[in-house]
């Protein structure tokens, strides 16, 4: 920042002496050059409306970047600014949108071009259904079996037996007065 300020200061001073600097000054005060541009990362283009378009972002979030980062196109191009793949893929998406292709058509085009790995989640078809359903089905089946066993056992247990067991611990090592107070307090706790 300090070097830029010095440069601007010099230009402002020279502006009064050398007329040719005048035109350049008005341009540079707005967008002065960096001291070492090559050290500020890969040069970026100006942000376009497409980059903030929810429709574009929605599609990009369903497509995987091919650089090997495991991220979707949108996350990669807005995170890894050294990646050259994700900006190119973004331009591909935009080009397809400009051809009036729908989201599903764009996704299909990417699958055609880059294989099924282009999608961030497997399409819900064929064997892929196993990916989505197996965990839920397993949990539901085991849970149902557990519940069924419990309900069957429940009917076999005598309520009086349970009540007797529940009542058993009280009083051990306590005076009768303490036990009564405790019983009362716990009764309030338990309802």
């Amino acid at each position: 920042m300090s070097s830029t300020t010095r440069r601007d200061f010099l230009r402002l001073g020279l502006a009064g002496v050398v007329p040719v600097f005048r035109g350049q000054e008005s341009q540079d005060t707005a967008t002065a050059r960096l001291w070492q541009p090559e050290m500020a990362g890969r040069p970026q283009g100006r942000v376009t409306d497409y980059q903030n378009d929810p429709f574009v972002i929605g599609i990009e979030k369903r497509l995987r970047c091919t650089c090997g980062c495991n991220l979707d196109i949108h996350t990669c191009r807005t995170t890894d600014f050294t990646c050259t793949y994700s900006p190119a893929l973004h331009r591909e998406v935009v080009a397809m949108i400009e051809k009036d292709m729908s989201a599903e058509e764009i996704l299909a085009a990417f699958v055609d071009k880059y294989s099924e790995t282009a999608l961030m989640a497997p399409p819900k078809e064929g064997f892929n259904w196993a990916g989505y359903l197996v965990p839920g089905v397993v949990i539901t089946m085991v849970g149902s079996a557990l519940l069924w066993i419990l309900l069957r056992r429940q009917t076999a247990v005598s309520p009086t037996g349970v009540a007797a067991a529940v009542g058993a611990p009280f009083g051990t090592g306590l005076s009768s007065e303490d036990a009564a107070r405790l019983q009362e307090e716990l009764g309030q706790l338990d309802g």
């Binding site: 707005a30 967008t31 942000v47 991220l71 979707d72 050294t82 099924e116 965990p135 307090e185 309802g191």
Partner: protein, 688 residues
């Protein structure tokens, strides 16, 4: 110094083999000399592995670039803290570090375990020595950190800039501590199986270890999220990356174990299941390491591909087969002492909680491996990213959150309708109130609304438990409420520490719900230009680009882009500065690709997250990504609460088994043999 390290590794190899054999034989024969030898071997192993580790640290600190590892992961201008953290920044160093941590834990287990568990210790020594031996074998034969180069470079490559972050100094060791410390409970479980002493003794012996391991894993995972958030610059903290999943898997099974172990202690049930859970946790921790290091699954976190994957795969197979055989041959000794009687009981809720935790672990594992499964079945690879994991796991997570609230409200053994009505009224009421308010305020995201409503339910549960317990103490002992609260917690640390952990989990879910309301915009701004971004909380932030400054720092060249921030037209705090860092070697030559440092302003409600993407045509016109991340701070708060609760739970003393004047407090606990067993009653016993 590296010769000493190499020598230490070879000695460790011999000691590991000796400890494995002598521990097992000593345990089988009950030979005191062999048992003592096994114990001393564990200490010696810890010593020599420490010497090897120290040798590598010295090589890193002294810039010994003739050592291949030092040349690959360090450089002359690398700050000292990162030179030390380079110890676990690469494949072979991290293997050595793992062996070092395990050696220390194994020695601590031998040192700290009470004498009454002496019958388990030779087998524990055998198992820990065997696992340490495995890591030493990998270090010697596949990933030797002391390998030398044929020449000595003037400078090293340096550490990956993304690893040059304070979070990355602490996060890996914490995760390693979590992974490695699972070995101790696993060793006790195997020892119990080998010795055929399968009462609750081994469970009591490992209680602190399992909690310690769980706390370290929790810290490691949360710090990993923090590192991803502040360093990677994508504005998120969890991406369901295979390596993240690998750390989450043992955490889930350990959490399941911490719940199910209570059932075994109180009712003598789930003996087999508890052995399975501990074994599963250990296997998953090794599996996680296998995933990270084998390159079998593509991940941003992966180490360089090498032959260590084969070693880990072989080790996994051996462990699974050995444990399966041990389990099968001792199956009858693991008979349950009681049966679950009621679907509406605390035990049943723990059963379902275990089902969901292990189900979630299965689901995450299934998703992580699905690309391989798909390739095996269909011959086609697929990508399984966040959309898949969110779709499958969010409903399971919400069900778990619900059970977090339901469990403590149901009495042990059975619950009466009156009991349920009385205990559920307030939590359910607060949950409905929150849900209604959110919907009326316009919230339409189903999962976020459910998460927040269930969060209110769990908070209601926990508050109610604390209020009732403190109230009971107040009435019984005449203590003021604050004192009653502290004594209640202090004397029932396990139970109330657990409730604090539940509050930490709630904080996580609150944070996760914020993801649904994230706002972001990309903008290219010249100095003086502004862009507006609306917050989900109704504010409008105006970001005005001030300019870009460039300067040299210790081992990098920094380009810093600065924005002024206004909230609803008023200046809000200091300007935010995001940086591009071009790391250089000691000759000023660029080393890695430039990295980005996000600027983050964090409040309890929302984070402003600014990323300097780059400059347009080498000018001060700057491309920014600006994000408003609602409720992210609650992830870190949740992590802190969770760890605090874990520490309360494992703090020595307290607990229902505590004795006063030789009598069990309140008559709730009985001493049977050398085990403290709580009596079963309704509601859960509280040491008042």
């Amino acid at each position: 110094m590296t010769i000493l390290g190499q020598l230490a590794l070879w000695i460790a190899l011999l000691l590991g083999a000796w400890g494995t054999v002598v521990g097992y034989v000593g345990g089988r024969r009950g030979d005191p000399e062999l048992i003592a030898s096994a114990r001393r071997t564990v200490y010696a192993l810890a010593g020599v592995v420490s010497v090897a580790t120290l040798s590598l640290v010295v090589a890193l600190l002294s810039n010994d670039f003739n050592v291949s590892y030092v040349a690959s992961y360090s450089s002359r201008n690398l700050p000292t803290a990162y030179k030390i953290s380079a110890l676990y920044g690469g494949q072979s160093g991290s293997i050595l570090f793992w062996a070092f941590v395990l050696g220390i834990f194994a020695a601590a287990a031998q040192w700290l375990t009470p004498r009454r568990y002496a019958y388990l210790m030779p087998y524990v020594a055998s198992v820990t020595s065997a696992v340490t031996l495995f890591f030493v074998v990998v270090a010697v034969y596949s990933a030797n950190p002391f390998e030398r180069l044929a020449f000595t470079p003037i400078d090293g490559n340096g550490l990956n800039p993304q690893l040059q972050n304070p979070g990355m100094v602490i996060h890996p060791p914490m995760l390693y501590l979590g992974y490695v410390s699972i070995t101790i409970p696993f060793a006790f479980a195997v020892a119990a199986l080998l010795s055929r002493r399968l009462d609750t003794g081994w469970l009591h012996a490992i209680r602190k270890w399992t909690l310690l391991s769980w706390v370290f894993l929790s810290i490691g995972i949360t710090l990993g999220m923090w590192w991803a958030y502040v360093e990677l610059g994508w504005g998120g903290y969890w991406a369901w990356d295979p390596v993240e999943n690998a750390s989450f898997l043992p955490w889930l099974t350990m959490t399941a174990f911490l719940h199910s172990v209570m059932i075994q202690e109180k009712r003598g049930m789930l003996k087999r299941w508890n052995v399975v859970l501990i074994a599963m946790s250990f296997v998953l921790s090794i599996f996680g390491t296998f995933i990270t290091r084998s390159g079998i699954i593509s991940s941003v976190h992966s180490f360089t591909q090498s032959t260590v994957g084969y070693f880990f795969l072989g080790f996994l197979v051996v462990i699974v087969l050995a444990v399966a055989w041990l389990f099968w041959s001792r199956y009858d000794l693991l008979q349950t002492e009681a049966h679950l009687e009621r679907a509406l009981s605390r035990e049943a809720s723990f059963f379902f909680n275990n089902l969901l935790l292990v189900g979630m672990a299965f689901s995450v594992l299934w998703g992580t491996l699905f690309p391989i499964i798909s390739e095996l079945v269909r011959g086609t690879q697929v990508t399984v990213g966040p959309p898949f994991f969110n779709q499958v796991n969010i409903p399971i997570g919400l069900a778990l959150l619900a059970l977090t609230g339901i469990g403590p409200l149901i009495a042990w053994r059975r619950a009466s309708p009156q009991n349920l009505r009385r205990h559920f009224l307030m939590p359910v009421g607060s949950s409905l109130l929150v849900a209604t308010t959110l919907v009326m305020m316009g919230m339409r995201d189903l999962y976020a609304t459910m998460a927040l409503a269930l969060a209110a339910f769990v908070i209601g549960t926990v508050v109610q438990e604390f209020v009732r317990g403190s109230g009971a103490r107040h009435r019984l002992h005449g203590e003021n409420y604050a004192l009653a609260f502290f004594r209640l917690t202090g004397r029932n640390r396990r139970r109330y520490g657990g409730y604090i952990v539940h509050l930490g989990i709630v904080a996580y879910f609150v944070a996760f719900s914020g993801n649904a309301f994230k706002r972001e915009v990309e903008a290219s701004l010249k100095p003086g230009e502004s862009v507006d971004l609306a917050s989900p909380f109704g504010h409008t932030y105006t970001f005005t680009h001030i300019g870009v400054s460039q300067y040299e720092a210790l081992n990098r060249f920094v380009s810093a882009a600065t924005l002024e921030v206004r909230k609803d037209g008023r200046i809000s705090g200091d300007p935010l500065t995001s940086e591009k860092r071009q790391h250089v070697d000691s000759f000023g030559r660029p080393t890695f690709e430039p990295s980005t440092e996000a600027a983050i302003r964090s409040t309890l409600r929302e984070d402003l997250y600014v990323v300097y993407a780059g400059s347009v045509n080498g000018t001060e016109e700057t491309v920014y990504r600006l994000t408003i991340n609602p409720l992210v701070a609650w992830v870190w708060i949740g992590g802190a609460i969770l760890v605090f609760g874990g520490v309360v739970t494992m703090w020595p003393g307290g607990g229902p088994g505590r004795r006063v004047g030789g009598e069990s407090v309140g008559g709730y606990a009985a001493k049977i043999g050398d085990e403290t067993v709580e009596r079963i009653e309704t509601p859960e016993p509280v040491a008042l």
